[in-house]
Every structure is written in structure tokens, then in C-alpha cells.
Symmetry: C3
Subunit: 102 residues, 3 copies
């Protein structure tokens, strides 16, 4: 890995747009200060298996974090959101050019 | 990797917006039930090398899958889309918090 | 890794929308011919730590490249953009279905 890069975890959360504010508040409470949101649409497996449409209005939230913070975020998502919301979360390993920013 | 995470492949497809519906039908036929789409714009290497503009209207499709499904998706993309469409596809390893959803 | 895939680096840059054109010119000068842009919004750690809002208008630029080009891109971003702009860049390893395109 290029020496300018520092290892971090990239957590991507895809969820219904209407829970954006409450979820951002929770992320903030758990120490997340930087995030990126893109508007998205899509369909989850929970939907009608024979229907491609309609897709729902989603957002895609990205946060960079360390392992310790990641663990607390995953616990929060699993405990508070999975039972009630159509939410997907996945994690990838990245090298960040400016780790001090997060 | 956090024990809440399960390994999956994240396939990202960037293509012309106008082929969205036909491509989603093919993904659905190959077993994909969940997907996320974001609107994008950009330029591929096939364009004029001296021109930065204009960028075209693209979409960015993300699907999570296992290796077996990934293989069939890559075969389909290579066989049916590369000859005729400006399409880019790349794969990364991710850990998914809720694998049952895909 | 599926034999149809070729290893590449995916560089994601999140920055203020207003520097899009100048940054694209620099990427082009360093050899980047293909890129994908999505509109985004967000907040960086440099902002008010007690405020969740407002988020700023950002763009999310993705480019696929080899290590040699990546090094030159990271040098350029570190030297020319970090001091003056709220910019985040991170790199992940991906397998690309159509490496000749980039």
C-alpha cells in the first residue's frame, strides 16, 4: 500500500431516505463526524420476488472509521434498525489519504 | 473481520442509463433480488482522449452476491454487453452485516 | 479471483462540487481518461463538531488505475488540494472486468 495511505474501514449503509436524520443522529452520538450521502434507489430481497418495480427512495451513507468505532456502529445497526427497516450495511478495507479528517 | 460480517462480493456496474431496464431484467433472471442504483455521469476511455466534455448520463448499479452468482453475472456482462455498450464492471470483497437480505 | 477480473485500484475522491472542473483537468493531465461522478452531500470532520447540519454540496469521483498512476494522483491531491479544500480520498483493491477500458 502506498505510504500516503492509512488503513481504515469504509462502512456503507443503504437505507430508506426517511430515516436519514435519526440515523445520522445515532452515528454522531457514536463518534462519527464525517459522512457522505448519495441519493439512491433500489430494491431489497425482502420485496416481491417477481417484481422488479417499483424501486424505493433510498440513501447511501458512507463513513470511514477504525475497527473500534465500526464495532459499535454494527452493534447499533443490528440492534436498532434491522428489525424494523429495510437496511443493508457492508464494510470494505480501504486506504485513506487523509486519515486525520475522520 | 467483525463476527457480525459475512463475506460477499460487491459488483459495481457503471453503464448508460438507457439500458437500465434491460440489464435489471437480466440480473433478475440470474438470481439477483436486491440492488442499489445511483445516478452518475462520466466518461470512459473510449471517448475522445483530448476532450473532457461532455460526460454522459450513466447509472451505477451495485449488487451483493456470492462467487457462483458473480461468475454468471460476469459471463453475462462479457457476452452480452461489452461489444455494444460502454459498460464498466468491477468487484470488491466486502463484509455484509445482513447476508440473508441478499 | 475470477479469471475474467484484472486487479486495479479504485480511487474515490469526495470534494466540493465547485472544484470539479479544475480537478478533472488535473486528473486528465495525469493520464486518467475514464471517471464516474455522483452528486453527494455530507460533512467532514473539519466542520462544527456539535452540528449535524448543514451538509455541503459535494461530488464523489471514482477512477480506476494502476499503482503507478495512483501514486501520481495521490501526490497531486496531497500537494495541491489538501491545504485548501475539504477533500477526502480513499483507495480500495478491485477486480475489473474490462481493464482495457481504463
Amino acid at each position: 500500500m502506498n505510504p500516503k495511505l492509512h488503513p481504515k474501514r469504509l462502512l456503507t449503509i443503504i437505507c430508506e431516505a426517511e430515516i436519514e436524520r435519526t440515523l445520522l443522529v445515532r452515528l454522531h452520538q457514536l463518534g462519527i463526524r464525517g459522512y457522505t450521502i448519495t441519493e439512491a434507489r433500489g430494491q431489497g430481497e425482502h420485496g416481491d420476488r417477481d417484481a422488479l418495480w417499483p424501486s424505493s427512495a433510498n440513501i447511501r451513507i458512507e463513513v470511514l472509521c477504525d475497527d473500534a468505532v465500526l464495532d459499535s456502529l454494527l452493534d447499533m445497526l443490528a440492534d436498532e434498525y434491522f428489525a424494523s427497516y429495510g437496511l443493508v450495511a457492508f464494510v470494505s478495507d480501504v486506504g485513506v489519504l487523509r486519515p486525520g479528517k475522520f
